[in-house]
Amino acid sequence: MFLASTGFWIDQLVNGLTVGSMYALIALGYTMVYGVLKMINFAHGEVFMLGSYAGFGVLVALGGEEISGPMVAVAILLAMLAAALASSGASVVLERVAYRPLRNAPRLAPLISAIGASIFLQFLVLDVTSAKASFYPRLFPSGGLEFGEVRVTYLQLFLLLSSILMMLFLYTVVQRTAMGRAIRAVAENRTNAALMGVDVDRAIVTVFVLGAAMAGVAGVLWGLFFLQIRGSMGFLPGIKAFTAAVLGGIGSIPGAMVGGYFLGLTETIGREALSAIPGVDLPNEWRDVIAFSLLVLVLLFRPTGIFGELVGRRA
């Protein structure tokens, strides 16, 4: 067993935070919808995928790999905007068509409807693209910042910063605006909120829009980082982000953020850390086993997740 250098661990830390920040952005959509509707929106991974494709379309329309100089920043911003709009649009349609008619049905009905919508969207895109991958243009210079033996690429830095900004924005909207207050009221008690004059439908649609916008931006970040997108790309990150939301405490916004980072870190560092124990050598295939074992452990001791509170409070 080799003894890894400090640089190695910090590199892995950055890797974990990078992928974790994307999980966190996606997890926000799961947790907010659960907060107001007590429903798991399993099509959220596909909302993320659609955003990634919308951003891809904008980048290609603007010239793909030919984009250079300050236009790169403009192009990426436009791609994120388009992704947020496309994802939000898709999410609003989903809510209207697949979930709202079932709002007062038994809880399993909207869940099944969500799974159906997820499969429908995934295979729709797979069919349209003949199941082939599309490739994001490489817009970031390959360099990075060096701190001693640690290197953070510009792309990683950009990912970390933009996801944090997005989350701050969301947090402010939910905590500091009238619409945010309406959302929190609906999360706490839908009937009472309606009686107090809160427009419940509007609050719920806003939740779908906000969550989807986060996922759409995450889709662009994902494409910029991993370069390869395809119709089935939403499935795994969707499941992971859902896990992150549960880990953080489903319904809690800070929980989803912390859960996302936590999952990203355990995925990348968990195996390495255990393998550093003399006599233990776990293959990479174990990374999910370790991440999900940790999930079970956390939930054993804190069944409501790390932040066991809701956007409002659990009924």
Partner: protein, 304 residues
Amino acid sequence: MSAATELIEEGVVAVVGPICSSSVVAAQPEYERAGVTHISPSSTAVVVVEPARGTPFKTTLRIPANDALQGRAQARFAYEVLGARTAYIVHDTDVYGTGLADVFEREFKALGGKIVGRQGYEKRTTDFSAVVTAIQEANPDLVYHSGFYAEATPFIQQLRRVNKDVLFLSGDGVRDDEFLRGAGADAEGAYVSQPSPPAPGPAYEEFARRYQEEYGEDPADSPFTAEAYDAATVIIEALKKVARKEGENLVIDLGELNEAIRATEIEGASGAVKFGENGDNVAKEDIKISFYVVRNGRFEPVES
């Protein structure tokens, strides 16, 4: 699995496929029960002809060479031609990737090389950052990859972000246009092997001409095109022998067809085809493994 069931229910008498070894392993009991012979144009894993149940499946046949041959040739190529002394193995955890990695590891060590690390990944993995960081730490001469282009593409892109110099060697699962298109400049300099001769005889030229006519592209740009053509040819030849008309009906006995296919020998586009007892194509046993290097967005043959 569901594809196999669907085909069997459709009344298909023989199948060209499945593509990858995991699918063959999943589908072979189903086909065996139905008595439907299937010839894989591309499955190469050892386990396909040496299944867990012991006796090989009577209905499972394949055109390409067993992985054991490719893994051995790759280890020799890495050690002798590329001069690598240390290697890091990254493989798909399916039967193809694991099988190939096992053979490579054994043979590379036998030559005197050192394996400085080994990691597996699940299909559809996109995040290889942890693997890449571990490779950086181990600092090998060569990164050996066994798996498919869908994962090789993000892997090599993330690898090249931090390491431009390390040698990269992979197998036939990566020799695909999608890999070139997806990885772009990051694919340059990557080596891949393929167990099929680069310029087979006249049968290949005839096939290549007709393929070009039909699809408008060079069959060498995609893997296993000639093998699939040969698999279909064998089935058609056998059908000519056993299919008979009874009144209005066309009658094909699946058992007879299986025997006829197993007995058919052809000089195909991908080389000779002759099935052995276990379903392997015994004509491939002394085949040359070809190596390619990516230059200017194309796979160029390496003379070794």
